[in-house]
């Protein structure tokens, strides 16, 4: 059964108020083109889930799409802070639900494992315990205190992959990041793919296919879909394009979204 959809139709699956996990890490293999389409479609009150984010999160914050962001890190690494995410949080439009990257993973694991929460090592002494909804619980076996993270079950995981077939099997080359876990934790999965390949390609090496099609609701053929971020080894991040995005006045967003498809 073919799950191929247009980008617009796939973005249309996401409803206002949904929780959406985005794959990739900082400017590497993020579903950037998908995020731009979410911005064009003016999605509202979206809660994002990401371990470490940059362009995708910042752009959605600028477009007014985000009510909250669950993440360990949002920034442009050596290029500086995420200006529009910063403004959205400082202005009160977007809530920074700060995690350690490991607690995002723990919350996703709880969802993937079908359990209500996940204990996690470390974290003691952090004031994040006081300001976020992490809990100290007692190990029922030893009585020792441990930090618990509530399950974090996204409505959607959106993952940019190198290759997918029309049934939604997806192959990621190089860094896998936390993408496979996101597909197990989320209620639904959307893949954007550099190219669509025949299923027989995957049948030769099923061990290289991290995402099984039966978990996937929609597949979008989207070459260059991670740009201006990287999709190693196909293309590097376009640093000039990222810097020009960072320098852009907020009012220029509509033009930017028309220009950059």
């Amino acid at each position: 059964m073919s799950k191929l959809l247009s980008l617009a139709a796939a973005v249309g699956l996401i409803k206002d108020g949904d929780t959406v996990a985005l794959g990739g890490n900082t400017i590497q293999r993020s579903p950037a083109a998908f995020a731009r389409e979410m911005a064009r479609r003016k999605k509202r009150n979206i809660e994002l889930v990401k371990t470490a984010g940059a362009y995708d999160v910042d752009l959605l914050a600028l477009a007014g799409c985000l009510s909250a962001v669950h993440a360990g890190y949002i920034g442009f690494e050596n290029m500086g802070l995420a200006p529009n995410y910063r403004k959205a949080v400082e202005g009160g439009q977007t809530q920074a639900k700060e995690h350690a990257c490991y607690t995002v993973i723990a919350g996703l694991r709880a969802a993937a494992y079908g359990i209500p929460f996940m204990p996690v090592a470390g974290f003691l002494g952090s004031e994040l315990l006081e300001v976020r909804d992490f809990k100290l619980v007692k190990d029922p076996f030893t009585g020792q205190e441990v930090v618990a993270v509530q399950k974090l079950q996204p409505d959607w995981a959106v993952i940019h992959v190198h290759e997918a077939d029309v049934e939604g099997n997806g192959r990621i080359l190089g860094s896998q990041f936390e993408d496979a876990l996101m597909t197990r934790a989320a209620k639904g999965v959307i893949l954007t793919a550099e190219r669509i390949v025949d299923k027989s390609q995957f049948q030769k090496h099923p061990e290289s296919v991290a995402i099984p099609g039966f978990l996937v609701n929609a597949v979008v053929e989207l070459p260059g879909g991670a740009a201006p971020g990287s999709c190693y080894p196909l293309y590097d991040a376009n640093i000039e394009a990222i810097r020009s995005y960072l320098a852009m006045a907020p009012e220029a967003l509509d033009d930017y979204l028309k220009e950059v498809r």
């Binding site: 890490n25 900082t26 400017i27 590497q28 371990t51 470490a52 993440a71 360990g72 890190y73 949002i74 920034g75 442009f76 690494e77 050596n78 290029m79 802070l81 995420a82 995410y85 910063r86 949080v89 400082e90 009160g92 920074a96 700060e98 995690h99 350690a100 990257c101 490991y102 607690t103 993973i105 996690v120 090592a121 470390g122 974290f123 003691l124 002494g125 952090s126 004031e127 994040l128 300001v131 190089g174 860094s175 896998q176 990041f177 936390e178 876990l181 990287s230 190693y232 080894p233 590097d236 991040a237 640093i239 990222i242």
Partner: protein
């Protein structure tokens, strides 16, 4: 400051002392936005720590980048030469079970206990400045066997009496600044090394908490010609200096 200009930069000095702290065969991790650790690991592997196991967010195990990426330290270029993958999730798990030797972490603010803030300036819920967030630090700092912190600015806004917010607490061993190195001893940061071009007085005047010298206090050895030559060879584009 000394009279004659040294033939090395503050970035060279920080990279060299960071590399010297690494040991052979240990498992070492750095995360996002970590250019100096990225270069220091390769310098250490070329010198005293050839069997150091280098882990990063890319999942690379002992990646050997041909050229260091300038803007990011999560780039696929770090995958070069890697024969297996070990994801970030697995690195956190490794640390959780007590098998990660060294993690490199940074702090926008660092206090005299080596606690760090990467979250906010001002109130957490209504921040004056929303910082990027602690990334892995709240989970890693208490679980890694040791953490080496670094910050390319040394002033009273970084090294503070009181943090705006305590993002992470844990097993800090050393804190490297452009002027010297603090060592966490008896629960407090003590001045352990001063760099040849700085002084205890300069560091005292630029630190927001009281300076106490470590019993092992010394002037750090300047980068040797051999160390500088390797740096030039592995990092000709001076990526180690991008945070300055």
């Amino acid at each position: 400051m000394s009279e004659h200009k040294p033939n090395y930069t503050q970035a060279d000095m920080m990279t060299v002392v960071m590399a010297r702290l690494l040991r052979d065969r240990e498992r070492v991790f750095h995360g996002v936005a970590s250019p100096i650790p990225m270069v220091a690991v390769q310098l250490a592997k070329r010198r005293q720590a050839p069997n150091l196991v280098y882990l990063s967010i890319t999942g690379a195990v002992d990646g050997l980048p041909e050229a260091f990426p300038r803007e990011t330290t999560t780039d696929g270029r770090l995958l070069r030469n890697t024969a297996s993958l070990f994801s970030l999730t697995e690195i956190f798990d490794l640390s959780a079970r007590g098998q990660l030797d060294t993690a490199f972490l940074g702090g926008v603010q660092i206090d005299q206990y080596g606690n760090l803030n990467l979250s906010v300036i001002g109130d957490f819920h209504k921040p004056k400045v929303r910082l990027p967030g602690g990334a892995g630090s709240a989970a890693l700092l208490p679980t890694t066997k040791r953490a080496i912190l670094w910050r390319t600015k040394h002033d009273p806004k970084v090294f503070v009496e009181k943090l705006s917010f305590r993002t992470a607490v844990g097993n800090v061993d050393k804190v490297i600044t452009p002027l010297g190195i603090f060592s966490k001893e008896d629960g407090r940061l003590k001045l352990w090394r001063v760099f040849p071009y700085s002084s205890v007085e300069e560091i005292t005047s630029l630190t927001g908490f009281p300076i106490e010298k470590s019993p092992d206090f010394a002037v750090a050895k300047a980068p040797t010609p051999e160390e500088l030559a390797i740096l030039q060879e592995i990092d000709p584009n001076n990526v180690r200096a991008v945070e300055f």
